[in-house]
């Protein structure tokens, strides 16, 4: 029981302080491993790899794995509820404020700044992801670049479901050994 409370508490703090989601929780988990000895850094690396290769938000996947490793299904519940509680509370508060002051000019102005910033940050995240995909061992990964060139035009012109492209590139990845 103490372990579960502790797990909830530790994950509550991670949920509260990791801004930007997903992989932003990793440094906190390294610290947790050092303080508690619940898992080793090698185990953490494996957990991160698995969290990234199954569906769902990485932060939640990671919390599930860590929770399970420490104390089975009850551990999963403690860690997952811990990580989502702060963000649910914060968003509910923000949503209340937005509904109440939706005609405020200050909020409209703030969003004029928020939208461009957000667009830019997503583009920046795309750049770091692209480095991972298109540049390996000091050379361009030609196969990946060709696949990208094939994917972009239909994506911008048609309304196919994103999952179609994901499934297609998974198959291409396996066939051509990316």
């Amino acid at each position: 029981m103490i372990v579960l409370l502790r797990l909830f508490y530790e994950y509550f703090l991670i949920g509260l302080f990791s801004v930007g989601g997903g992989l932003a929780t990793v440094p906190f988990l390294q610290d947790l491993a050092a303080r508690t000895g619940w898992f080793t850094l090698t185990e953490l690396a494996d957990m991160v790899a698995i969290a990234q290769s199954v569906p769902g938000p990485i932060g939640v996947n990671l919390a599930t794995y860590v929770g399970f490793k420490i104390s089975g299904i009850p551990g999963v519940l403690a860690a997952v509820l811990g990580i989502v509680t702060p963000s649910v509370a914060v968003i509910l508060i923000i949503a209340h404020i937005l509904m109440k002051f939706k005609d405020s000019k200050y909020i409209a102005w703030a969003f004029n700044g928020l939208r461009p910033a957000s667009c830019a940050l997503i583009a920046a995240a795309g750049v770091s992801m692209a480095q991972l995909s298109f540049w390996s061992d000091g050379a361009f990964n030609l196969k990946a670049i060709i696949l990208l060139a094939v994917l972009i035009p239909p994506m911008l012109k048609t309304k196919l479901h994103p999952l179609v492209y994901i499934a297609f590139s998974a198959v291409i990845g396996i066939i051509f050994k990316f």
Binding site: S18, Q52, P55, G113, A120, I152, M155, Y165
Partner: protein
Amino acid sequence: MPELLRMFLVFAKVGVMTFGGGYAMLPMLMRELVEKRGWLDTEEFANMTAIGQCTPGIIAVNMATYVGFKRRKNIGGIVATLGVIFPSVIIVSVIAAVLRGYTELPAVRHAFAGIRVSVCALIVKTVVSLWKTSGKNMFSVILILVVFAASVLIDVSPTLLVIGSALLCILLGLYTERRAKKGGAE
């Protein structure tokens, strides 16, 4: 079907269909929430993405909470959130319990290297559609370029960039308003 159950199922579907977390989820969220169901418009989607970047927690969870709240107040926010995390909890628990060395299988590694490429392409698509709602005038286009450069080249924290941009636009709004008033008085 009761609205809450339907919302739970829609978000569970989003949870199960998204690979790669975070930004990779955005195209999927946009498809399901904006294009297919009209639960959010493009501008609200852009607003929520921005809020997700400067508030704690996982972006997909933030989006689920907000949409749920919008449709069915607090309880809606909680139900939508539980929906989006439900598949992860099941899938990862199963993997943690039975599958070992799953990520070392060559087929899995190749498949995910392929998936990463399509995630990059999907991010391009998201940026293109957000650009349409975000870069409406010269000023916002410049802001996009400046924030992009600050993030890629000098690694400024996203929280700082997002909050800074909001403050800048509030100041700009005040300044424009004041000048307009002065102009009117003359």
